[in-house]
């Protein structure tokens, strides 16, 4: 039973990360109908921001300010910088193509992804950067229930993931900006005619989605320690899968999809074999698509004729 709970904790933690990245992916798709393949690379940039914050304050073994403050700065700075990077990408790469055939922004998104990966390679080099989290957050600072270990970083990731997901849900359903985002997602032209500033709303969507990816990047750095220019690829792929399983464009779907994939990965590795994890995960994706082509929470698009 302890093994089951250990795998569950591992799965939920990883799933929370996937969910955060998938949320941004899904938000952008919901508003622009754009598969932003550069989204995973924003996560990578966030992870680098977190790494450099640790270095600025003396490195993991000799932080010059209290750890909670470093963590706060890491998360806030990553959210802001990556959020604005997302806005810049939307402004200069996607907006000019808003009325172009849908293949054009898709190819642009792939181009932006390669651009970010290679820009990071040029700026930061190819070597792995390591957070060394255990040097400033001890493994013993977590919870031990029987033989199930939940360390402090996992707890932090779970709590932050939960807070961010609930916060985003409230923002989208209870605020004026959320209402504008839903209106633009529903019908961009009608929203514009009703006086909604569509450009600003789309920019805000990119900011929020990218900021979440930035925060997820810092969390990944704290959890998995290593950062390279390529970590966004797998994260982006998993987030895309999570968004599709949950129903692309649906925020609760992205959250559920992320958690499902994280937990499924963990249990398949634990109870079947790590050899078949990806095979079974993507088999699961195909099964979900066959049973519900729009994903778990997706709605079929109605076309007026």
């Amino acid at each position: 039973m302890a093994f089951f709970f250990q795998e569950l904790v591992n799965g939920v933690t990883t799933g929370a990360l996937y969910a955060l990245v998938a949320l941004g992916f899904s938000m952008v798709y919901g508003v622009l109908k754009l598969l932003n393949f550069a989204h995973g690379d924003l996560y990578m940039v966030g992870a680098f921001v977190g790494y450099f914050v640790i270095q600025w304050f003396g490195g993991p073994a000799a932080l010059s300010i209290p750890v909670p403050l470093v963590l706060l700065i890491m998360f806030v700075l990553a959210a802001l910088l990556v959020g604005f990077l997302g806005v810049a990408i939307e402004r200069f790469a996607y907006r000019p193509l808003r009325n172009a055939p849908r293949i054009a922004p898709l190819i642009t998104a792939i181009g932006i992804s390669f651009f970010l990966e290679n820009a990071a390679l040029l700026l930061f080099g190819a070597q792995f950067r390591v957070y060394n989290t255990s040097e400033f957050i001890s493994f013993s600072s977590g919870i031990q229930i029987g033989s199930v270990s939940i360390d402090a970083v996992q707890i932090m990731v779970l709590l932050m993931g939960l807070v961010l997901m609930v916060g985003l849900r409230l923002l989208v359903t209870r605020t004026k900006l959320g209402k504008q985002m839903r209106a633009v997602a529903s019908d961009r032209e009608a929203a514009e005619m009703l006086g909604i500033n569509v450009n600003l709303t789309i920019a805000a969507t990119f900011f929020l989605g990218s900021a979440l990816a930035g925060v997820a990047g810092v969390m990944a750095g704290l959890l998995f320690n290593q950062v390279t220019n390529m970590i966004g690829f797998v994260a982006g792929l998993k987030a895309f899968t999570a968004a599709v399983v949950g129903g692309i464009g649906s925020l609760p779907g992205a959250m559920l999809g992320g958690l499902l994939i994280g937990i499924a990965e963990s249990f398949i590795t634990g109870y079947v074999s790590s050899t078949y994890t990806n095979l079974l995960i993507f088999g699961l994706l195909i099964a979900v698509m066959l049973a519900r082509p729009t994903g778990l929470f997706g709605r079929p698009q109605l076309r007026k004729v």
């Binding site: 390591v130 255990s134 390529m230 797998v234 074999s273």
Partner: protein, 382 residues
């Protein structure tokens, strides 16, 4: 019609340009080579992509060797880079580019055994020597690729040596071995597992992609009886994270890493054992100047750079020997010179000459234990 005209004009222009380019490079290559031993060599490695850290290190050491050898031999050899991304398909494309460049007479690389399998026939077709500093799959030197050489030993040496060391040193009742789904890793696993099973050890064989960075789910499967985890991997930071996940879940298993994990400063899990195809060159007095130059230019380095230095040096010396003999370095005579290599010492602390299959003669592996400061200490061979 207008569109067809544009396409036709563009194609014609491209053909003319290509023709000019190729004829000019051919002329320059031949004339220059004849007068001042000027030629080019290729370097294939994962310069970008998930394991760019290894490829960049290899490139740095190739450049360092070339600069040193050009000065020492008064040659003018230039390096043409090819980024394979550790991907056999990409390696094939890069090899086609390098082999079609007539000024290139030999190649250093590629890095991975799976890539060598993909490009071996292409090099054989043009009779061009290619020397890898890290492809260790045992089958590569069984005659399939007659122009292939390597300056490192092979898995059929490393696998049994490492497996027997684990059996005789740790006496485990159960162990976990995790491959990273690449030819290097699966090749070693296929050699080591039968030895473990023959010794009556219960083996849990797991498999995880090189791109994965979270091992908590696999680590959860490490039972109290599992005293050793064998990681035949190429990405040291992954092994470091695996070690952290073990500590996080309070598991006491010892990690044994194969040569791909020999990376002082990166893989530093206390008590782990690591195999290496070469000694730590920072501990070889004769390599002090190379270590100093590499450290000052590129910073920290691991296990992948020095063998590429050795491979580049072999190729440079082969070209220089052809020139000293009064000949123009061509692919055929450079290949013959590489086959005749007989270096009494090398950066790897051992002589370099090749068997008829392209293996280094008397290749061996070294074992190290990591202490609590992260230092790699050589385990004396018994």
């Amino acid at each position: 019609m207008k569109a067809y005209a544009i396409v036709a004009t563009t194609a014609l222009g491209a053909l003319i340009l290509a023709g000019c380019g190729s004829s000019s490079s051919n002329n320059n290559g031949t004339n220059a080579a004849a007068t001042k031993c000027a030629t080019s060599i290729g370097m294939e490695g994962p310069l970008t992509g998930p394991v760019a850290v290894l490829g960049q290190e290899q490139l740095h050491f190739a450049e360092l060797a070339l600069a040193t050898d050009n000065t020492a031999n008064k040659t003018h050899i230039t390096l043409v880079q090819g980024d394979t991304q550790l991907n056999p398909a990409q390696a094939t494309t890069v090899t086609q580019q390098l082999t079609s460049n007539s000024s290139i007479v030999g190649v250093v690389g590629p890095a991975g055994s799976q890539e060598v399998e993909a490009v071996g026939p292409l090099f054989a077709r043009v009779n061009m020597a290619f020397i890898s500093g890290s492809a260790t799959n045992a089958t590569l030197t069984q005659g399939k690729y007659p122009t292939f050489f390597r300056v490192v030993s092979k898995d059929s040496v490393q696998g049994p040596q490492d497996a027997n060391y684990i059996v005789n040193t740790f006496h485990p009742k159960a162990l976990m071995i995790v491959d990273d789904q690449e030819a290097y890793s699966t090749g070693l696993v296929s050699v080591m597992v039968p030895i473990f099973q023959q010794a009556g050890i219960k083996v849990d064989h797991e498999s995880v992609s090189q791109k994965v960075t979270d091992f908590s789910s696999i680590v959860a499967k490490v039972t109290p009886a599992t005293t050793v985890v064998v990681l035949p991997w190429q990405v040291a930071t992954n092994a470091q994270q695996f070690g952290r996940n073990l500590a996080q879940q309070h598991k006491n298993a010892v990690i044994f890493g194969t040569d791909g994990l020999f990376s002082p400063g990166t893989f530093t899990i206390t008590g782990s054992d690591v195999s290496s195809f070469g000694p730590d060159i920072t501990g070889i007095p004769a390599d002090a100047s190379i270590v100093a130059a590499a450290t000052s230019k590129f910073g920290k380095f691991g296990t992948f750079g020095p063998p590429v230095y050795a491979a580049t040096h072999v190729l440079d010396e082969a070209i220089a020997s052809v020139c000293k003999g009064g000949h123009t370095p061509t692919r055929a005579n450079v290949l013959a010179a590489v086959k005749a290599t007989n270096e009494p010492t090398s950066i790897l602390g051992q002589p370099i000459s090749f068997t008829s299959g392209g293996d280094i003669v008397n290749g061996k592996f070294f074992l190290f234990k990591i202490d609590s400061t992260g230092k790699y200490n050589l385990i004396p061979s018994s």
